[in-house]
Amino acid sequence: MIRTRIAYLLIGCTTASLTRCSPVDRVPATVHVQQEHTDWSTGLIAYEATWPDKFGIGRPADKKFIDRWDIDVRPDGKGLPKGRGLAKNGAAVYRKKCASCHGANGYEGPEDKLVTDPTGGNTIGNYWPYATTIFDYVRRAMPFDAPGSLTDQEVYDITAYLLYLNGIIEEGNVITEESLPRVEMPAKKRYVLDDRRGGPEIR
C-alpha cells in the first residue's frame, strides 16, 4: 500500500516538474540578460586577490650584467663613459662611416640632414634639444648598416664634429663626459610638454 502511494507520488512529482520545466516556462521573455564582461579589467581585482605576495619568477640581475646592457646616456651626463672627443678626429670618422648617407657636409643627404644649411629642414643645430642625445643615438644605432660598431672614442669624436659643423662649439673644443652635458643646444628653449588633455579644445 505504501509502495503504491510512493509510486503515485513519484509519478505525480515527475509530471509536475516536467510540466513546470518546459522550455517556454524556463525562459521568461521579458528578462534581458545584461552582459557585463566587456571591459578588459573586469574581475581583475578579485583575481589579483588570489595571487601570492611574491611570484619570485626570473633570476636576479647582477651589476656586471646590468653594466653591460645599460647603455643609455641622459641629459645630465649619467651613462657617459670617460673620454675626450675632438672635431678634427671626428671629421675622418665621419667621411668614412657617415658621409655616404648624410652627405659630405652633413646636409646633402640622401638620409637625415644633420647640419643646418640655408635650405631648411630639421637638424641637430636647429631641432635637437640635448647634446647628450647625439652620443646616445650614434652609439646605439649608427651607422645604419653596422649598428653598434663604433668605439666610444669614435662616438665622442663624431659628436664633437657634428656640434662643430652646426656652429655650436669651436673646432678646438674638447668634448668630455663633463663638458657634453653642459653644451647648450639652440633648440632647447623651443621645447614644451604636451598639453593635450582630451575634451573639446583642439590643441
Partner: protein, 418 residues
Amino acid sequence: MSVERDYFLQIRGLVRWLTATVAIFLALVAGLVWYQHTSRGVKEPSFDSKIVVDPGKVQGAPSSEVGYRSKYDSPKRIATYATASRTPLEELQGTITPSDLHFERHHAGIPDIDPEQHELLIHGLVDRPIRLKLSDLKKYPSVSRICFIECSGNFRYGKREMTPGEVCGLTSQSEWTGVLLSTVLRDLGVKPEAKWLLAEGADGALMARSVPLQEALTEAIIAYGQNGEAIRPQQGYPMRLVIPGFEGNTQIKWLRRIELTDQPVMTREETSKYTEKVKNGKIRMFSLVMDARSIITYPAYPKRIEKGWQELRGIAWSGRGKVTKVLVSVDNGKSWQEAHLQGPVLEKAHTAFKLMWHWDGKPTRVLSRAIDETGYEQPTYKQLVKAREARGGYHFNPIVGWDIEKTGEAYLADVEDI
C-alpha cells in the same frame, strides 16, 4: 494550282521564314550589345563552357597544418619603404587586423630573435633587478586585451587617388596577450623616486623610449601573444611593450630592457623625432596619447558604388577611451547623422561604424567625425592648422572623406577644403 506556283510559294515561305529568323537574331544581338553598353560596362563573365567547374562535383583539397587565404581575396600590406608597410584598411572586415596585415614600422629592420637567447632585463630604481626569459614571462598571471596600435605619423594626403590604407594605414588592431607591467614590477620593489621608465628593443636601432611610469603602470602589458599566437617578428617577437592608446613608437618591440628612472633619457626618438611643431615656434614633446579619429573605408578609393542602398562603413578609435559617437555626413557637411556603432565598444580600440545610405546618383562628398568619451571631437584640417600653426606633423588626425562622382567612383576629398 500549278506545280510551279506551289513551288514558288514554298520558296517564298522559306525566304520569309529565314528573313524573320535572321532579323530576330540581329535584333537579339543588337539588344545584347545595347544592354552591355548601357549597364555601365558590367558584363557577364565569359567562361569557356568546358572549364566551368561545379565544386560540388570535384574532390576538394586536403587538410593542412596552416591555413591560407582564398586566392580570389587575398589582401596585401601596402609596402612602400623597406622600413614601413601599411594595413589595407579598405580590404578588412570587422575590427581585428589579421596579424600578417598589421602595419610595420621599424628603424633598423626586423631582428631574428631566438627566444632561448633573449632576455628582458628590468633594473634601475627597483630593489631587485631581474632577468626574464620568455618562458618566465608566461608564468605570470596573463591578461588579454583588444586595442589598436597607431603610429603617430599616420596621415598622408596630396592626391585624389589614395586608399584609406594609404591615408592612415599605420593603425592596426590585435588581441594582445601578456603580463601587466604592474604585475612584474610588484615583485621588484619600485623605489619612490622612480618617475619614468626607459624601454629598449633588441633591434639594430636599440629603439628606446621614455614613458611616464604612472601612466604606463595602469595599463601597459609586456606582451608575447597576438591574436591567439606568438607575436609576429614584424610586431616584436618574442616580446613587446603594449601601452593601449599611446603612440606606436613607445610600444617598444623586441623588448630587452626596462629601466626605471627619475627623469626621461631624451632619446633621439622623443626629441628629434615624434615631436611636433606647434604655435609660437614651439616644439611639443611627449605627446603620447593618440587623439580620436575615424575614416570611412567604404565607399572609398578605388571602389565604385552603384545607385541605391549601401552600407557606408568605417572605423573610429581614440587613445583616451571609448568612441561614444561617430557622425557621418553624406552631403559634404551640410548635415550630420549618427552612425551605428558595432558593440561591444571597447576602450582604446578600433570601433566599427555603419550607416545605411541611399545614394541618388548625384555627385557628393561623404565625411566622418569621431567623438570620444572625453568630449573630444575629431577636428578638421583647418582647425588643426589654426590650433598648431603647422600644416602637418605627428598627431595630425583631421576629418577625411571621399568625393563620390556621378559614375559612382570615390576619390579622396581635398582635406584642406573640408
